[in-house]
Every structure is written in structure tokens, then in C-alpha cells.
Amino acid sequence: MNDITERRLALSHMWVAFIAFILACFMGEYQVLERSGLFEALDSSTVYFASVSTHGVLMAYVLTTFFIMGFGYYTASTSLNVPIWNKQLAWGGFWLALLGVVLAAVPLLMGLASVLYTFYPPIQAHYIFYVGATLLIVGSWVWCGIMIVMFLQWKQANPGKPVPLAMFATTMNALLWLWTSAGVALESLFLILPWAFGWTDTIDVGMARTLFAWTLHPIVYFWLIPAYIAFYTLLPKQAGSYLFSDELARAAFIVLVVFSLPIGFHHLYMDPEQAKGWKLLHSVGTFIVSVPTFMTGFTVIASLEVAGRLRGGKGLFGWIGSLQWTNTMVLSVILSLLMLIFGGFGGIVNASYAMNAMIHNTAWVPGHFHLIFAGTTVIMYFSVAYYLWPILTNKPIFSNNLALVQLWTWFIGMSILSTPWHVLGLLGQPRRISSVVYNNLMTLSWKPYELMMILGGLVMLGSACLFIYVIFKTQFSATEEVFEGEVEYAETYHPVTDLPEYLNDIKIWNKVIAVLMFISFGIPILQFFFLDTYDSSAWGY
């Protein structure tokens, strides 16, 4: 198949993602330097919050969305072995999303949108920022539509056959994103944009936060699912093994997508606008999400164990040493899983209603989400890029050794950065501050940890630059050597020939999500239209 357009689509999306990423890395290091208070010349809350907002938007929305779209297009094309449906539309979505990024960037860089990436009202940005963010989301919906159409077309053309796992997961992620982004889209359309344009004088902060909570948790899984796709469908072949279970993988994706949506209120535990009963309901759902995470851990580690034993590893853990640690995919999955264990533990603490009071709005929270996002997730984005770049460019990877160094330094830097970040939270350091204007024993006790964070950030910044260097040199260095490989998806030891429909379709799960979302968010949103006061409803209490 001539897939030149698919390659261009993938490369264009991923370059936008990684350019956003490297810019945001420089901002991140500036932020730890400024916040430490050790460098007076850097002290500026105005610049700090403009930087934090830009860093957050670039990382959480631009890197992720563009990477996921680029990876998704190539996964769809290669796993189904068909061209992308409606390439003009795909390019249209790309340019629309890019226009959104440019529009949002202008007020961000001018300090007119220092509202952090959560843009919680009543802090307000210039309306151009919200228009830009909206266009980015609409551009990503184009991708979702194309993925779903390709999925359905393939199923129609291949009745009864299992949809390739990589495409099944990609389509589930598209479905997840449509549901996820609906919350913030409603918030933007009906609350924020009219307010930012000056058409309304006030804004219902409680409703805005409730709608954003709808988006805020499943968005993490939207970012994470490409990493899981690599775990399940790319790693086994790279490790010299088989996928442990195709059915278990599908079940994990389904549970993850279905239960990641109706659980956002664990971000609102300390908020007054929702009652305790609803928070409890969302809390239960949050703990359920740990189930597919463990299923994924089990399946992926089992695939690695088989690989290690096939390479001669013996004993209970002897297979670990026999793994191909010099393969970037194998190494990154191991490091990603390690960070997932610690990040997941932090998440369980966050989700625990009582203990949340201890770490709420402290440095623990950014420590946690950086470990899950920059750790578990982004290291897999690197790994996918190292895997795909030779295929997309027909050139061998510039240096496998440099890539390995880059992955290790990212992991080491992340550990040095995020550990003291968590400790600072337990020591009482608030998040979302640019400096402390008081000095006492408590704030002085933060200094050593802040120094460690500066060091960790520097190591990560160096690692990020190395990543860009390796993929840039891979694509643009003049080499005679031609790489002719293609994407190799994992196989199971016993090939899957037929599946029950619930493991092979998205329609039933779309209906289940609709019901769960209505149960979890119906009354909590409707209450804002019926209550005369800002009190929360007394459901269950």
C-alpha cells in the first residue's frame, strides 16, 4: 500500500506535538527555578503564571492531542491495512487544530491568559484563548470521526472478524475523547465564551467546575491509552514474545474507557457545590479504574516474562535480566510501568476521600500528575516515536545508544523531580504559587527539596533536548542507508479467530457510558438550574 499521505499525516501531527513539548520543557525548568525563590532575578509572578499556563496547555493539550491523532492515523492505516478515510478531512482537522493552538498561544505568551491549563473561573482569559482552545478540540473531533468511520467500515467489510486490537483500542480512545471533551465543550460554549465575550456579567463557578470535572479525569486516560496501545500491541514483538491475552487486553480497554468517565468528582472533594453522596459515588468509580490498570500491568508483565524465558531466563525473576534491555520499546515499557506503580499509588491517595484533605491543593498533586503524565505516558510517546520514525522516514534510527541514554535520563530526572514534589506536598507546600512572601521554619524546610527539583528538571530538560536531537537527526541526516521495516503488531500464542460482539464493538459501550454519565452527572448538573441558592443538593444525606 502506498501510504505516503498517512506517513505525512503522522509526521506532521507528531512534529507539532514534539515542538510543543520541547518549548514546554524549557518553561518547566524556568518554573522550578523561579518558584524556589533562590534566584531573585527570576522573581515575577506575572511571567511565572504566564509560563505555567503555557507549559500546561502545551503539554496537556497540544503534545497529547497531536501525538494521539498522528499515532492514531498511522495505527488505523497499518492495523486495518487500508488508506485513511477522507484524507482531505484529516488534513482539515490538522490545520484547524493548529490554528487553534496558534490563536491560544498569542494571549498565553502576552500574559493575557494566565489561567493555568484548568482555566477555572472566575479567573478569566482573553476570549481569543478560549476560541483557540475550542478550535483545537473541534480539530480533534475530526480525528475521532475518521477513526470511528474507519472502524465501522472495516467491520462492515469483514463481518464476524475481530477488529485488530490496536484499532479497537484507538477507536475506544476516540469514543472516550468525544465523551470526555463534551464536558469542557459545554462549559466553554454556554458559560465561558459568553462571559469572556462580555455577553454575560457573571459566571456560575460551581457549574463550570462541575463540567470541567467531567473532562478532567478521563482526559488523563485519553493521554494514557496510546501508551497502553504500545504496551499491548507493539511491545510483545519487540521483546520477542506474544501478547499474553487479546481478550484480557480488550476487556482492560473497555473497563478503562467506561469507568474513567463518570468519576471526575474526586477532583471536587473539597468543593461545596456537590454533595457528599455524589462524591462517594465518583470515589467508588475511581477505585474501579485501578482494576484495568492492574489487568494491564499483569498482561504486559506476563508478555515480558514469556519473552525473558524464551531468551533463556530461569527462576522466579531470572527472566527480568534476560530481557532485551537495549531495545528502546522494552526499556521504556519497564520504566513506564515502574513510574505507573508509584504514580498509581499517589492516585489512590488522592482518591481516598479523607486523605485527600491532607494533600488537596498541595505540591503533592502536581507531583502526582507529572509522574503519571510526564513519567508513565510521555516516556511511551518517546518510545513510539523511536519505533515509528524509521518506518515513517525510511531511515534507520540515528543512534539507538543515545535513545537508550535519553530514556534512562528521563526516568532518573523524573524520579529526582517528582519525589521531592510529593514530599513538599506532605510538608504543606501549596500548589499554584509562584513564591512565598514569608519565611519561617516550615518554608525553610522546603528548600532542599526545591533544589532537588531544580536538578531533576535540568536532567529532564537535557533528556528532552536529546530526544528531539535523535528524531531530528534520524529524519534529516544525509544517509545512504534505507530502513524498510513496517509496523509489526503483537500476536497471541493462540490466534483469536472470533470474539463475542461486546469485545469487538463500541456501540454497546457507548450506550453503557451514556447511562453511567446520566447517573453520575445528571442531577449534579441539573441542580444548578433548580436551586435558588449556591447550596449543594442533599442527595443521600
Binding site: 500491568g297 499483569f298 508483565i301 514469556v306 524464551l310 531468551r311 533463556g312 525473576f317 481516598s352 486523605m355
Partner: protein
């Protein structure tokens, strides 16, 4: 380090339960419970009531 294995060994590996994975997952699960209890009983509760 890669070691050559026989076809019989290969079949046995592919058809046996991943015991190392079970032990690792159990260890992670138990460690998480212990860690959670440490934070709850050792850090959170001793801080007392919010006042």
C-alpha cells in the same frame, strides 16, 4: 543474554502460567496496601482534626 532453548522448552514456556508475574503483581498490590495504611495511620491521622 540470549540462550538457545529447545522446541519442547519453548512450548512449555508458552503454555505455563506466568508465575513471576503473579508474584510481582501480588507484591505491588500488597506494597500499595501497606503504603496506603502507612500514610493513613502514620501520617494523616496523627495530624489530628482540622482547626
Amino acid at each position: 543474554m540470549m540462550t538457545e532453548i529447545s522446541e519442547e522448552e519453548r512450548k512449555k514456556i508458552l503454555e505455563s502460567s506466568p508465575i513471576g508475574t503473579w508474584v510481582l503483581m501480588l507484591t505491588v498490590g500488597v506494597s500499595m496496601v501497606i503504603g496506603w495504611m502507612f500514610l493513613y495511620y502514620g501520617v494523616f491521622l496523627p495530624r489530628g482534626m482540622i482547626n
